[in-house]
């Protein structure tokens, strides 16, 4: 096991260096001089330009710049935003809870509906329920989620007036950001209606972000269940006279869960990509919207740092999933 962990870690390090190199290189390739961009329309004097160039280290050879950046990254220094002048690291972690809250809710939504849907479809294989559920799943899987968001807004916010269109909570309520998770903070504040308001703001983004994972989980659960249901030990259980509910629920589902958990773990990247669209549409103040805004504002340190942090996060999650998989399934360790 230790050997497996070490070999996985050994591939992690070069990938990490590569990811740093890429996010560093991207910014150097962006059109326009960052200092001129930062100066904006006012322009900049020759002396000030040289001074700033020295301050940011742009006058030094590119490999020295990369080395400085890389050692900075290892110490948690990702530079400061051009726009807000705050450290990228701080900005990322003050916005991250919003994205995390949304992603966790979307994942709960996807798993809570996707698992039962997959099981029901597998058990009723070929029958009406199976067809209906799997057709719906395929539609969900093909959904352009930015359009799905707009449709939900038309119906639930426009026609029915049930849900707000943007933000995380009504402006009426104000309380300190203790945890950064609006649902928890709103309860902790003890204000009437704050929690309901937060929940209503969360509803549509959760559905939008959870739709594709939901479809993927339902499809994956169905195929994993079908595979397991064909195994000998299921036939044995049936021969022993075990009830079909117990067979499906305990014997089959438990073994079918392994590939499903992998899919759940690996969809973190998909969630973050979806968060870019979802947060932009619902003005959700999280990482996705922050990245898009920074790209449009040409806030290079933020784009660079955000890209790096997101990639590292995806890598860490994938690594964890791999390790967990190695623990659950010893066969995978030997390769």
């Amino acid at each position: 096991m230790l050997k497996y962990v070490l070999s996985r870690l050994a591939t992690f390090i070069p990938t990490f260096i590569g990811v740093t190199l890429i996010s560093f290189a991207f910014i150097r390739m962006l059109p326009g001089d960052p200092i001129v961009v930062m100066a904006g329309e006012r322009g900049i004097s020759e002396e000030r330009y040289l001074e700033l160039q020295q301050q940011f280290g742009f006058d030094r050879p590119i490999y020295v710049q990369f080395w400085d950046y890389f050692t900075g990254v290892l110490q948690g220094d990702l530079g400061n935003s051009f726009v807000t002048k705050r450290p990228v690291w701080d900005e990322f972690f003050s916005l991250f809870p919003a994205t995390l809250e949304l992603s966790v809710c979307a994942m709960i939504f996807a798993v809570a509906l996707g698992l039962p849907a997959g099981v029901i479809a597998a058990v009723n294989r070929g029958k009406f329920f199976d067809r209906a559920l799997m057709s719906t799943a395929l539609v969900g899987y093909s959904m352009p989620i930015f359009w799905w968001a707009l449709l939900l807004i038309i119906v639930f916010s426009g026609n029915l007036g049930w849900t707000p269109v943007s933000g995380r909570i009504d402006l009426l309520y104000y309380f300190p950001n203790a945890t950064g998770f609006m649902l928890i903070d709103s309860i902790a504040s003890g204000q009437d209606g704050a929690f309901t308001s937060a929940l209503r703001h969360l509803l549509l983004p959760t559905i939008v972000l959870g739709t594709i994972p939901l479809a993927v989980i339902a499809r994956q659960t169905r195929s994993a269940m079908l595979e397991v249901l064909g195994e000998d030990y299921i036939r044995t259980a049936r021969a022993k006279g075990m009830s079909s509910g117990r067979i499906n629920g305990i014997h089959a589902l438990r073994n079918a869960l392994i590939p499903v958990i992998t899919v759940i773990g690996l969809s973190v990247g998909t969630l973050l990509a979806g968060a870019i669209l979802t947060e932009t549409i619902f003005s959700w103040p999280g990482i996705g919207k922050w990245m898009v805004d920074s790209i449009f504002r040409r806030d290079y340190p933020v784009v660079q740092g955000g890209l790096l942090l997101i990639a590292v996060m995806v890598m860490v999650v994938n690594l964890t999933v791999d390790m967990l998989y190695g623990i659950i399934n010893p066969k995978i360790r030997k390769r």
Binding site: T11, P14, T15, G18, V19, I22, F26, M29, L30, P31, S135, L138, V139, Y141, S142, M143, P144, F146, W147, W148, L150, L151, I153, I154, S157, G158, L226, G269, T270, L272, A273, I276, L277, T280, M291, V292, I295, F296, V303, L307, I310, A311, V312, V314, M315, N318
Partner: protein, 301 residues
């Protein structure tokens, strides 16, 4: 049923061609056949759109801005699906827009697949150190969420449909590399490859003539699936203002332009998205059918 039986009987007599056998399995999946028909209509519109569309896609009917579809009060037959905020005919824009999505799919899949297959073949036959380097590079690309990477790439290259296609192709390529490499590695173990080598086939011949044809099935399925991913991603980039630029009637860009009118005029938002959904759905249905027909392991399950 009769049809299926006679087809089967025919297959017993004549040794079926590959295409024939493929069609036999593909036809069994009704969803896939429906998908194929929708895709055929989509391809037809993409090729002949401007001649079919009732109006010019960029012509502005100033007297009829935000006119609703024909079945609603105030709709007219001259604009069946209504008009957008600038008075342009929705139906015409949708029809002409088909070619952008189709074009995106074709170009992205061609670039990503050909690049990915070549790199994957090299990686599968290369010495271990080169293989490791190539796979690490692919890991690095895959570590970034695809849409984010495409977004940053487009920001570097400048927002346009061409650059969006390049960015999406780069992002999708690692999947082909991994897929090709995996099948190459498993095929290389087989006896027919060894015998080809013994007979004296060079590495290049082994790669392209001997091994590659036997690796194609999963790649074709992947091509169908990434065709739909490409259309979705291009529309998403257009929606974020980083893809095709207005007034191009690209479906994602149309959605972005219509966003502020969603509560006043549902049709400007509903139809472009529906067009994307139906197209992507049709391609995914086809992809499922392709997988069933091409993958012998899944054939009878």
């Amino acid at each position: 049923m009769d049809d299926a039986l006679s087809a089967e009987a025919e297959m017993v007599h004549a040794r079926p061609g590959r295409l024939r056998e493929f069609w036999f399995y593909f036809r069994e999946n009704r969803g896939a056949v429906i998908g194929l028909w929708i895709f055929a209509v989509f391809a037809f519109l993409a090729l002949f759109g401007p001649w079919i569309a009732p109006h010019d896609a960029t012509q502005q009917f100033r007297a009829a801005t935000l006119q609703p579809p024909v079945w609603q009060d105030g709709g007219t037959w001259s604009h069946i699906l209504g008009t957008d905020p600038l008075g342009r005919d929705m139906l015409s824009r949708l029809i002409v827009g088909a070619r952008y999505s189709f074009f995106v799919g074709i170009v992205v899949v061609s670039i990503a697949a050909s690049g990915g297959i070549i790199i994957g073949l090299i990686s599968g036959f290369a010495p271990k150190w080169l293989d490791t380097i190539i796979m690490r590079i692919m890991d690095i690309i895959l570590a970034f969420p695809s849409l984010l990477l495409a977004l940053v790439l487009v920001a570097i290259l400048g927002p346009s449909l061409t650059n969006a296609m390049i960015a999406i192709a780069i992002v999708l390529q690692p999947h082909y590399v991994r897929l090709t490499r995996a099948s190459v590695l498993s095929e290389r173990q087989k006896d027919y490859v060894t015998s080809a080598r013994v007979v004296g086939a060079g590495t290049l011949r082994l790669m392209v003539v001997t091994v590659l044809p036997n690796c194609l099935a999963p790649i074709i399925v992947q091509a169908a699936l990434s065709f739909s991913t490409a259309i979705l991603d291009a529309a998403a980039l257009g929606f974020l203002g980083m893809g095709a630029q207005p007034p191009t009637p690209e479906w994602g860009t149309m959605l972005a332009e219509a966003r502020e009118f969603i509560l006043r005029a549902w049709w400007v938002v509903t139809f472009p998205g529906l067009a994307i959904l139906v197209t992507v759905l049709a391609i995914n249905l086809m992809g499922d059918g392709l997988r069933d027909a091409l993958d012998p392991k899944l054939k009878r399950s």
